[in-house]
Symmetry: C2
């Protein structure tokens, strides 16, 4: 009897109610019962994306939805600004290059953010920019970008603002319509509390307008075709039926909590995790704008940092994430989005303390837990 | 207590053992336990595809896998032969056009097949053909194409042979290596007994060679990148974890049955369905090469044919499929691939008889059942 905990920044745990819903006998997608579910899910997604526009559901992981946002709005040769402050920013540049666009790369030191002013300067210097591509949360560094402020800058130009909200939607208060975002992308295995396999994408009128002249080739990810089908509560190609059925249940859980509480929960868990890090004598990797979806804790010098996620998982049953690429062995990342509450974070911190002690790091055991506990208790009404 | 039956040509029913496997708590994909499962699944897929080459798993439905087979081997301007004997043949042409290829379309009367000689003549007249694209089974008309014979013809040219085996793999004895097929595609919601959401694609050396010079843009469906990752029992982007876990269980069920028995089962169910149609005084839509995955029965003149699938489903609890496009109201399609056995087909035929009677068709009730029964009993050892 070793209980397991999943606190990666995705996949996130799936509630039993959702797992059991998906374990019901499969139904056909071209039927009234499925189309009814699909219609309800689409309405709930609009609520979560805070938009009157249609949110499209793709049978793909988040990267597929990212690709769809590029190939449905842009054309080969188009100049785009990509913000590279981590691994997922680099992915935008890679997708842009794969489709023959011309990326202007804004390099951001990993662990820091960029400002709306940085983007404004780049846009002023590149008047022919067709799109700005960014993450809401750069999951590899656990830093958030100022989406609202950047959206305001981009909305005053002819460029569209494409946001990878894979670990942003359902985590932070990202108001698609109000902020004037043009494309917002997400994926099922994050705040949506589902297994991976669904991508989401929402386009503004400005983005749909660009779709009319977009020359990038597309077929499976043809969003205009999907929109036409979604309007009839169906999809162009076979949808991932069981995940859509699970999504209905998951969205009901989020609706029951309420959007404001749901966002607040993530923020409180993030704050508790950051305070715990300090309590253990460690620092948060993000020098500014630490994310609410995931916290990256810098590991102490002098211990074998690359062993931290392995020991936490293999010995102590908690699956967190290590660092990627240049951050390997330097950080441990603890996700607190989706179906994660103070109990999961408390156990995670307990096992992180055990792991650090095992690896020879000198600190007062329990100090991390105590620091988190203060934050939790202050916000305990959220969890009653 | 109204039991439901799903006998569409996909999605097909998912065995409870598989549903329960997928209902277990989700695990992270970058872990030893998942990579072990992934490795086992890849080995089993090779067995099912009858190949020594790698079978790649994509988080997409079958159409995504079809697109991947085109964009990873071909380049804009390339001439390709597509065989249009139904809706899915048309899909090959549409994908080819979306990526700027030049399709030479072989029009095949719906309900009939083409011969290897037809393909040979077209290849002789178009020496610069880079690929021949076809279905193993054209699901919209329930006709099979002679894959083995066509593969032999294509293998003697520089062109590659791309086969949509979405309702072929795991249904018919399609030997990837022995037949010299170059690309074989399938999808999880068919013979694999899973919900939709996984695409499969397997490439020959000849196809991988063409990958080196392929200029179609790709990112999410970059198979070279996937191959590199699959070799390490992982994927480039987040895989559909729960479906992969279900796949392991589903492939175990097929292995336990044995490949020959599994293929035979589909053939027997198909034969029984065809005999039942005759017993009801109806004809099979396929004038030649009726498929083993699905049977299309031509509906009698003078009844409201478009009501048949609806009554079968809404009144009698059996979800079959109607005709698509020009075949709407003309046929009913009964799938017998995947987790379907004589009990499902028997019930389906019972409800089809009820439905036809309700709609005023004059025939001897029970004759269809009796005709099927003879075929089942002759092959009963398969089901013991």
């Amino acid at each position: 009897m070793h209980k397991k905990y999943l606190v990666a920044p995705g996949p996130t745990p799936v509630p039993s109610e959702v797992l059991l819903e998906m374990a019901k006998p499969i139904i056909h997608h071209r039927t009234v019962p499925f189309e009814k579910i699909f219609g309800e899910v689409l309405a709930d997604l609009k609520w979560l994306f805070q938009t009157q526009k249609d949110v499209l559901i793709l049978a793909s992981s988040g990267t597929g939805a990212m690709e769809s946002s590029v190939v449905n709005t842009l054309s080969p040769g188009d100049k785009v600004i990509t913000v590279e402050g981590g691994k997922f920013g680099e992915r935008w540049t890679e997708i842009a290059k794969a489709y023959g666009l011309t990326p202007v790369v804004l390099k951001v030191e990993w662990g820091t953010t960029c400002s709306a002013d940085d983007i404004k300067k780049l846009l002023d210097a590149n008047k022919d920019t067709k799109a700005v591509l960014i993450q809401a949360c750069e999951t590899s560094t656990a830093v958030s970008y100022p989406i609202k402020e950047i959206a305001e800058v981009v909305s005053k130009t002819d460029a569209i603002f494409i946001v990878d909200g894979i670990t942003g939607v359902g985590v932070d208060d990202i108001r698609f319509d109000e902020y004037k975002i043009d494309v917002l992308v997400s994926g099922s295995q994050k705040a949506f509390m589902l297994p991976p396999g669904l991508g989401f994408v929402c386009l503004s009128d400005k983005a749909w307008k660009m779709n009319e002249t977009s020359k990038c080739p597309k077929y499976y990810f043809n969003l205009k075709n999907e929109l036409k089908n979604h309007k009839k509560n169906t999809t162009a190609y076979t949808p991932a039926v069981s995940l859509v059925i699970g999504l209905k249940k998951a969205l009901e859980i989020i609706k029951q909590a309420g959007l404001a509480n749901w966002f607040k929960k993530n923020a409180v868990l993030a704050e508790a995790t950051r305070e715990a890090a300090k309590g253990m004598g460690l620092s948060v990797f993000a020098k500014m704008n630490p994310a609410n979806a995931v916290t990256a804790i810098s590991l102490p010098e002098g211990i074998e940092g690359n062993k931290v996620p392995d020991i936490m998982q293999d010995t102590y049953g908690v699956t967190a994430a290590g660092g990627q690429d240049s951050l390997k062995g330097k950080i441990v990342r603890i996700g607190h989005l989706g179906y994660i509450d103070p109990s999961d974070i408390l156990v995670t911190l307990q096992r992180l303390e055990w792991t650090l002690k095992d690896l020879g790091y000198k600190f007062d055991m329990g100090k991390g837990l105590a620091s988190a506990q203060e934050v939790f208790y202050k916000n305990k009404t959220l969890f009653q």
